[in-house]
């Protein structure tokens, strides 16, 4: 007869895992130390924060200021959308070569993945600084930064999506004698399309979030208003900017969630 006694819900940790837990705890404490964690500052910050809040409220809602910020916000969205769309379009061919077992050999896959990893490792604000040097101040530098950011993200995840796609249709098309490019175009890409849509919408959300701070380094968008607001101690205007960003980012997330169910959810 097979043994059907119930296993214990929680197993006693072995000596090794006990040591591992203790080690993890020490590591976390060490990191808190490195981050300058101080109880004093935590305790003393609420009054200071309250002071800032008191000076920032009510937010600056003068029509002239709102119009100016509104235009800047629009520019921010333009940077985000243009950058994300170009990034997604460029990602697709790169991902096709980066996906293992699709078209290119392991050497090409691996080198492309390293390059994409490097692109991702450089923060968006650093890309913006680089492009400000390359193409000058302004939204174009910001857009290029978003393109790079999207490329690093979508290039990698599109490739993963294609590797994970159902291999059945691809095999059946290979059985017709179709070439590798035909198989990728007809079976792999359509099969991975729902994941592509998800990944792209997420990239767009990410682009909108990044584009709001690119202005800090002069790469266009509303970020510059935030910096100026703080530099001039014009906290009410800075508060307006922060609220605007929050509204737009939350709005974009809602919109992309809606689009996702519209495009992907429907076929199930």
């Amino acid at each position: 007869m097979t043994d059907t006694t119930l296993p214990n819900r929680i197993e006693r940790p072995s000596a090794v895992s006990f040591l591992a837990y203790a080690g993890a705890l020490v590591l976390i404490l060490w990191c808190l130390g490195g981050a300058g964690f101080s109880i004093d500052k935590v305790v003393s910050s609420p009054p200071r924060f309250a002071d800032f809040a008191a000076r920032a409220f009510p937010p600056n809602l003068e029509p002239g200021v709102l119009a100016r910020l509104g235009w800047k916000m629009l520019e921010t969205m333009q940077i985000a959308v243009a950058g994300a769309v170009i990034g997604v379009i460029l990602s697709l061919p790169i991902a096709v070569f980066a996906a293992r077992g699709l078209i290119a050999g392991p050497w090409v896959n691996q080198s492309l993945r390293v390059v994409l990893g490097f692109i991702r490792a450089v923060p968006d604000i650093a890309w913006a600084l680089v492009f400000v040097v390359a193409v000058g101040l302004g939204p174009f530098a910001g857009m290029l930064a978003i393109v790079m950011d999207t490329l690093g993200f979508c290039g990698r995840f599109f490739a993963d999506d294609m590797e994970a796609a159902d291999k059945g249709p691809a095999e059946s098309l290979a059985a017709t004698g179709a070439g590798r490019l035909d198989v990728v175009a007809c079976a792999t890409i359509p099969g991975a399309m729902p994941s592509f849509v998800s990944t792209s919408l997420y990239a767009l959300e990410k682009a909108v979030r990044s584009s709001t701070i690119l202005g800090l380094v002069g790469a266009g968008g509303i970020g510059i208003e935030l910096k100026v607001g703080f530099d001039l101690f014009d906290y009410p205007t800075a508060m307006t900017v922060i609220l605007m960003i929050a509204v737009v980012v939350i709005g974009i997330e809602q919109l992309s969630g809606w689009a996702r169910t519209k495009i992907i959810g429907e076929q199930r």
Binding site: G177, A185, C186, A187, Q267
Partner: protein, 276 residues
């Protein structure tokens, strides 16, 4: 709906492609061997599936491949088509070697062969018509055959004719992931025959079909074999189908070829023996 299949077939004759040496059930003069497997073995990792399977199948004949679930029928078909490498052994298709050859040669060979996969393997988000057009990718690859919107007139017509043969013209623009199981199976069959194959491998082509649709499909395969000289190999768990539609029956059991005989010499109980 399916009852119209045979009528439609008369209107759109299958004779788009007639092979040079059509043979009837009685093989005229010298029979041509279209499929030749020489001691084919396959293991997945350390797990042997079958070993030392050999057979020679003649042009225009129809062969039933039978055996219990998991015995390796689908695996054998995939090895024969070179979709997965055999562990040992050689295969010749249409008189050409199909193992140990260049990818491009294998592709050229596959373009002359049709395969109906057990799992249908349609591309879910594309239309039925685009899926059927994909059956021609081997002969005429390139972007124009990626979707029916760009396809040349002749290809679109051929795809519609193939759909006609399986009785699904009315679903041409339906998305493939919105088909019933039997409809999707028939689309897979249309995709396999659209390129006028000289060999047709069909892995349980009637598994999802109702009895009448199953009979229509098997009749369609027989007409391809008899009239166009297509060499047909099908797997089936339907003993009646195996005996009445196969000229010959190959049986796998215990990782070996256990049965290889003409259908007329076999009875249903001979086949049942394979499943014990």
């Amino acid at each position: 709906m399916i009852s119209s299949v045979s009528d439609l077939r008369e209107k759109a004759p299958v004779a788009r492609h007639v092979r040079p040496e059509p043979t009837g059930t009685e093989f005229a003069s010298v029979p041509v061997v279209d499929i030749e497997a020489q001691s084919v073995s396959k293991s997945f990792g350390d797990t042997p599936i079958f070993s030392d399977v050999s057979f020679r199948l003649v042009r225009g004949s129809s062969t039933a491949l039978v055996g219990a679930n998991g015995v390796g029928k689908s695996t054998l078909l995939r090895c024969v088509m070179g979709l997965i490498p055999a562990t040992a052994g050689g295969v010749r298709l249409l008189g050409e070697p199909a193992t140990g050859v260049r990818k491009s040669d294998l592709r050229a060979l596959r373009a002359r062969i049709g395969l109906v996969s057990q799992k249908h393997n349609l591309v879910p988000r594309l239309s039925v018509l685009s899926n059927v057009l994909h059956g021609m990718l081997g002969r005429t690859g390139g972007p124009r055959h990626w979707a029916h919107g760009f396809a040349p007139e002749a290809s679109r017509r051929a795809a519609m004719e193939a759909l006609d043969k399986v009785g699904l013209v009315h679903l041409a623009l339906r998305r493939a992931d919105r088909l019933s199981g039997g409809q999707s199976q028939r689309v897979a069959i249309a995709r396999a025959i659209v390129g006028a194959p000289e060999i047709l491998f069909a892995d349980e082509p009637t598994a999802s079909l109702d009895p009448q649709a199953g009979k229509d499909v098997m009749d369609l395969f027989m007409s391809l074999a008899r009239e166009n000289g297509v060499t047909v190999v099908f797997t089936s768990h339907n003993i009646d189908h195996a005996l009445s539609y196969g000229d010959r029956v190959l049986g796998l059991a215990e990782g070996r070829k256990m049965l290889d005989a003409t259908a007329v010499s076999l009875t249903a109980s001979d086949l049942r023996g394979l499943y014990d």
